[in-house]
Amino acid sequence: MIGTIYTETVVYLAPEAFAADVPYQVAIVTLQDGTRVTGRVLGERVTIDDRVEQVELRDGIPYFRRVA
């Protein structure tokens, strides 16, 4: 699935469940059908308007990566 970054943040202070991932990037992504989802960004950091594609779905949460 391809989408566009609507907004993003990099989290430095996390609950214990995610402490090992810090710092990690969370983003709200606008998908091609216009719906929005909150997911994680893997690899290169992204900014608003960047195009991303979903590379994984873990426990119902989408993981995205930047596409050129």
């Binding site: 943040t9 430095y12 969370v26 909150t38």
Partner: protein
């Protein structure tokens, strides 16, 4: 509906109090309030308690009778309201409705949170429960990160800057120094705010409110009856609560809170005033960006103009629209369930000219805005001279 007044107010200092439990905090605030109103516990006809997460923070449920009986309030309805950080704002709105309708003549509304007995990572986890735990929270969002994403989008759409955010923190910390009950009475500089460690980019340490213990209470009566108990009743001119989606990604535009706009519109209509008439306000600055968005949603400035308005000094104590003369959640502290009623206590102190070093000159019409979660609940209240 009949006119309703706040006959009395009382609160604890806000801070980290390792030796204090939740119940003792409400008892202190409630007793101060009843004493201030010359009312005995047996005269109270109903008790409304705002509390976000007592069961998680201190392991206690069934909180309202747990604390009201300790105050000596027996037999009467005693109920807890939960609406995240707007819990006591919501308790207040429902108490107002009951008094205005004629159901009760004397109601005590309190708010409390005891947060500092848990480590910060656990507090972050408990607060995250105010978000959508089936989506955004599962993805690793925390409350700072939700507001960080709002800030990013606000910066992108309107050109809001890190300096605009920092200006809110610097101003509220300067105000908090004048508040003897504030959690953090400490002046900070623009440079300190901008170079503090990141919590969730673009938000840094000083963009975030504090983790605090504290309680606050107000006593509501029909306006005519309140005059029998105090020569300084404060009129509730307008109050409204509104709701929206819990999940940030369900919202069309995250740079504005529709619940704030709706609650404000209703409260302004009820009071027969507009944003220009409001002389001072206590706004829900859980994060610096939240105060900027609130200025816009309440109609104090146009959309996108909140950042420059803060940077201009207009919201300082000496400015045209003093915001958070108490120090706000940023410096006064944010025991989440207590915040809504505490804001009202601050308005009452200003209107009664009892605010000490915090006293403002233009003090006869004030507004409080209490936000729950990332905007799923909002309560707006307008108070004035009776």
């Amino acid at each position: 509906m009949r006119p309703v007044a706040i006959a009395a107010a009382g609160k604890t200092p806000f801070g980290a109090f390792p030796g204090r439990d939740l119940r003792s905090l409400v008892v202190e605030a409630g007793e101060k309030c009843l004493k201030n109103g010359h009312v005995s516990p047996s005269q109270v006809e109903a008790f409304y308690l705002g509390n976000f997460a007592g069961p998680s923070f201190v392991g206690q449920n069934h909180l309202a009778p747990f604390v009201s009986t300790a105050l000596g309030i027996r037999d009467v309805p005693s109920t807890r309201f939960e609406a995240a950080c707007a819990s006591s704002g919501s308790a207040f709105f429902h108490a107002f409705s009951a008094v205005a309708s004629g159901l009760y003549d004397c109601v005590l509304v309190a708010g409390v949170e005891k947060m500092t007995s848990q480590p910060t990572a656990r507090v972050t986890e408990i607060l995250a429960g105010a978000g959508d735990c089936s989506g955004e929270i599962k993805a690793g969002s925390t409350f700072p990160s939700l507001f960080a994403m709002i800030a990013r989008r606000h910066m992108y759409q309107f050109g809001t800057t890190l300096e605009h955010l920092a200006a809110v923190a610097v101003k509220n910390h300067a105000n908090g120094v004048l508040n003897p009950d504030a959690h953090m009475r400490k002046v900070i500089t623009m440079e300190q705010a901008l170079t503090a460690r990141p919590v969730a980019e673009p938000l840094h340490l000083y963009d975030c409110s504090l983790i605090s213990d504290g309680a606050a209470a107000v006593l509501l009566m029909p306006a005519e009856r309140a005059r029998d108990f105090t020569n300084k009743p404060v009129r509730i001119l307008g109050v409204a609560q509104a709701s929206d989606f819990v999940a940030l990604d369900h919202k069309q535009d995250i740079t504005t809170f529709p619940a704030v706009r709706r609650a404000a519109q209703k409260a302004y209509e009820m009071a027969g005033v507009g944003p220009k008439d409001i002389q001072f306000a206590e706004l829900h600055d859980c994060f610096t960006i939240a105060e900027i968005v609130a200025l816009e949603d309440l109609g104090f400035v146009e959309r996108g103009a909140g950042g420059p308005f803060e940077a201009s000094g207009a919201t300082a104590r000496t400015g045209e629209k003093p915001i958070n003369a108490s120090g706000g959640l940023k410096s006064k502290g944010h025991p989440v369930g207590a915040t809504g009623v505490a804001q009202l206590c601050d308005l009452v102190a200003q209107i009664r000219c009892e605010a000490g070093d915090m006293q403002l000159k233009r003090n006869s019409l004030g507004l409080a805005q209490n936000l729950g979660g990332s905007g799923a609940t909002c309560v707006v209240t307008i108070l004035g001279n009776a």
